[in-house]
Symmetry: C2
């Protein structure tokens, strides 16, 4: 196995793994893994660092899939036992591990590149970290002073870099970002079916096991700040980091949870006395939330190594603190516990785990939408990723036979411990994946992708709304251009922000895409070295008159395409989208 | 022993203890104590809560006096084992203690009044607090939300106040403020000598053992905030809380100390590696200090129960955070470690412990200065308490034989472990009190008080400066009206702020006071029920023409004096001073 410092080489390497096809992703597939990892679901084996076990585990492990809560708890607990070490450009991996082992057994480790090489070390026992921390010094220099906050972020240097450099070998680096769209398109062209293309895209874009670990680590490091004052509080990721639909590079949404503290808020009653804590009292929970977030934001800003660009957005409906966490490379949004948001994450997790086609279709549609400027990373009148995902889910509920169950069906399967009523809304649904019967639907992704575009190209948005609870269209309760029922807060439209022009653009693009897929002649395109299938959909159609663009690539050789792509500077989806004029 | 809820009754009670006279205060006397308390020096026994041991310990304990550092360490450690409980107006002390004892042995306890009754409970073991905290609830109510920061401040309530009230008896309350000047003056008039008057004043004004404990507790509670992020940091009181010259009601100056952390700032060096913490780097220590104080100020403000009125004064030469700590009733100033300020506290501690006359004279002169508007609680051109204390020390060094040694003499007695060079200044002096020979001077305080006023009434301030290191006048190095050498930073004048009019006022008041003491006829004054001795000096002289006021009280009966004092609303030194027109 090649060991190279560049992420590019690895991306190519990963591309060669036999990851496409439904058989390869039977569960909550995470790129590059095929053992029952601690994420619980059957996941693919990652290209491991030297010394880790390699082949022989690619068969699916046949155990009960863990529930969302079990997986989250396990990953949080792993993160608590993990440290992050900034390393010199070249290092002797074996010696580093050898040294660290003197503080305790290392359960797992990986390296990644983020303005320098970093090692993520997971110990078997939490107290190994205390042992390591005791041995670590505070940086001292005449030029600077430090804020002596002792975190789990260390810097590792070689005493004598020159003499030691010779014996160091490059370490394997786990990729933390997806490949540029340009490379993706070329890779897609080499596939043998649209279905394969969609799994390749999924495999390139989805979060890796290592990236998920890093996300939990970021939360755990923020938890250290919260726990300083609120020892029983936790910080947990929600949304795309945990719902199986996260893309490499997406933000880490995390929330601070006091739930456990407040649960134990019973007064001591012994003898004739009552004893309670003296605490700051505030007229509303919102004010308490704002104050706590504000102070934790200041702590991160002033004490947290590599916490920069802190923005407090405390007057929002859901107060939050945004910051950039340089050591892990994540953009983070910290808010306070929002039970419904967690339930939404769990619902998507379940849908994502049920059938491998679900995530493949969602990733393809979202990549397509982004390239054509239908979604955007900033808030506005664009369709959100969440809305788009819900549209895919609805489409899959509508297949015959359905590929995924409706929310009402999931609720019927719920047992007593799955009962959750949050703020008056019944958010109950089954948590045990094994209780859900596998679908009898065997349609290929080739069919599903084309039908998705056709379905929404012809959907009567003027009259109908999308309801995942029932799994059918319902007359719109009000006149928003796009109406998608919030799965839990049933009186809310999750796509209220979308205006008529944006919806029309979506419909036009869907029709155009359906038309392209129906009309194309794959054999001819492959001979002509033209983008075909999904690849053809990921090239901007031109904004003036999409229908005139249908033969836009005809007659252009691959060299021409390459130079066209170059001229558009298609390094990633964002700049691609900008190039497409949004 | 009377058990009353009112502080006033206790003040009167304390007045009856035989506390005046040098024999009663052989060491670092603290009002109302006569055993070798944990403060180290021989201290008087406080009026204890019911059940505590009482008589039989009034004899002085003949052990080595502890050093300043030993006393501070011991008190800090006590404070870590202490909790503060807000109690209902009436409570059954025995039952409370009985309940608390179920969490561990109680080492000491006392009650005090501060917007309600509070109990200070010192456990023998620190882990008793964790046990108690586990059993305590979080307040819950529909009307308010709390910031769930779990401190060592609790509220204790009776389940059924009406039925239980009958069996409750008032607890003994330890006074936390000194008696009003009006009461003090009447008490002084009943004494039999000026010396006795001075000890009465000292006894009424000085910090009690309980008040000192409460000061260390306030620091320890602030330490809990700092320790959340900087586990090895400490918060220690300095200045008047610990230098034996503090007056009941004075602010708590405290500093945050990272010294221990930075001391261990050596890098881990093992094998070919160096490992250090990633930490926020700042271009100056001052900036680091400002950021840390700022965040801790926010934490106190937002999380700290009863922490109110937080003011950040971060751009001052010595950045600090001021706040009012309601549970203990203290006004606090939190700054960051200032080694020279600590050395100053220790120096005063040594002088205060050496001879009982030192503190009696300082307290009398400071009370006199405050009443006559020579000092003020706000910064300005007034002489500071510190400068005034240094002037008394200098006067005592100049007696023949000297009552206290010069700083150079204390430095000669220093051994190796006493060597301290701070910022280039030699701050070494002996820490072991037993190495300092007791003075052979036997002058009474009657003599010393009169001579103090005479000495400074005639001091050549134009030509001479005051130097405690040498114990003699030195030609002024520059033209400040009052020049007192900083004992450690020898190039600084601690009274640079004093202007010529303020100095002249001081000289005039000193002369007037010397004249009053020389001319007065005590027998006649006692017969006429006129204030005499020290009492006569604590009544404003009138600001227009002090010399005309010399017979100001002559012929006035005690009733007349009382109504005069009433009209001036002499409830405390501050309002008295305001009445005196400053």
């Amino acid at each position: 196995m090649a060991h190279r410092a560049g992420g590019r080489a690895l991306s190519l390497l990963r591309g060669r793994l036999p990851l496409h096809g439904p058989a390869a992703a039977g569960g909550c597939a995470v790129r590059g893994q095929a053992r029952l990892g601690s994420s619980g679901a059957a996941v693919r084996k990652a290209p491991r660092a030297a010394g880790a076990e390699e082949a022989g585990e690619d068969a699916e492990v046949n155990t009960r899939k863990k529930t969302f809560t079990e997986v989250q708890t396990e990953r949080s607990e792993q993160a608590e036992r993990t440290v992050l070490i900034k390393c010199p450009p070249k290092l002797n991996e074996k010696k580093l591990l050898q040294y660290l082992s003197s503080h305790g057994n290392i359960e797992s480790h990986f390296f990644f590149e983020n303005r320098g090489i970093h090692a993520v070390i997971e110990f078997s026992e939490k107290n190994s970290i205390a042992s390591l921390q005791d041995a670590i010094g505070i940086p001292s220099s005449a030029e600077h002073h430090v804020v002596p906050f002792k975190s789990r972020l260390f810097t590792f240097t070689l005493k004598n870099p020159v003499s030691q450099a010779a014996e160091e070998t490059p370490v394997h680096l786990s990729p933390q970002s997806h490949i540029p769209v340009k490379e993706l398109i070329q890779k897609l062209c080499d596939a043998d079916s649209i279905s394969s293309q969609m799994y390749i895209l999924l495999n390139e874009y989805q979060l890796t096991e290592e990236n998920i670990k890093l996300r939990f680590l970021a939360c755990s490091l923020v938890r250290d700040f919260a726990r300083a004052y609120f020892p029983d509080s936790t910080v947990k990721p929600f949304g795309s980091s945990v719902n199986t639909f996260g893309k490499l590079g997406c933000d880490v949404d995390m929330f601070l949870d006091f739930h456990d503290i407040r649960k134990h808020g019973t007064k001591m009653k012994k003898g004739p006395f009552e004893m309670e804590y003296q605490m700051k009292r505030l007229p509303s929970e919102r004010l308490a939330t704002q104050k706590i977030l504000s102070v934790i934001g200041d702590c991160l800003d002033n004490f947290g190594p590599g916490c920069v660009g802190i923005q407090k957005i405390l007057n929002a409906r859901c107060p939050l603190v945004k910051f950039s966490h340089q050591p892990t490379g994540f953009q983070c949004d910290l808010s306070v516990s929002n039970s419904i948001a967690i339930k939404s994450s769990e619902l998507l997790y379940i849908y994502g785990c049920l059938d491998s086609r679900v995530r493949a279709l969602v990733f393809s549609v979202r990549c397509w939408a982004r390239i054509h400027g239908l979604t955007n990373s900033v808030p506005g009148t664009w369709i959100t990723n969440f809305s788009l995902t819900m549209m895919v889910m609805f489409f899959l509920q509508k297949r015959s036979p359905p590929i995924i169950p409706t929310l009402d069906q999931l609720k019927e399967l719920a047992d007593e411990k799955d009962k959750h009523v949050i703020g008056g809304y019944d958010c109950s649904f089954v948590s045990d994946l094994s209780k859900i019967k596998p679908t009898k639907n065997t349609e290929t992704l080739d069919v599903l992708l084309g039908d998705f575009f056709e379905y929404f190209g012809n959907f009567d948005f003027r009259k109908n709304s999308i309801n995942l609870r029932k799994g059918r269209e319902i007359n719109k309760p009000e006149s928003s251009p796009l109406y998608i029922w919030n799965p839990f807060e049933q009186d809310l439209n999750i796509s209220k922000n979308v205006n008529q022009p944006q919806l029309e653009k979506f419909v036009a693009m869907a029709r155009e895409s359906a038309w392209i897929l129906q009309k194309e002649d794959k054999t001819q395109q492959v001979i002509n070295k033209e983008p075909w299938g999904l690849a053809a959909l990921l090239i901007p159609f031109g904004k003036s008159n999409p229908s005139k663009m249908k033969n836009r690539m005809k007659g252009l050789g691959s060299e021409t395409i390459r130079s066209l792509l170059d001229s558009l500077k298609l390094n990633n989806a964002t700049s691609l989208q900008k190039a497409a004029g949004k």
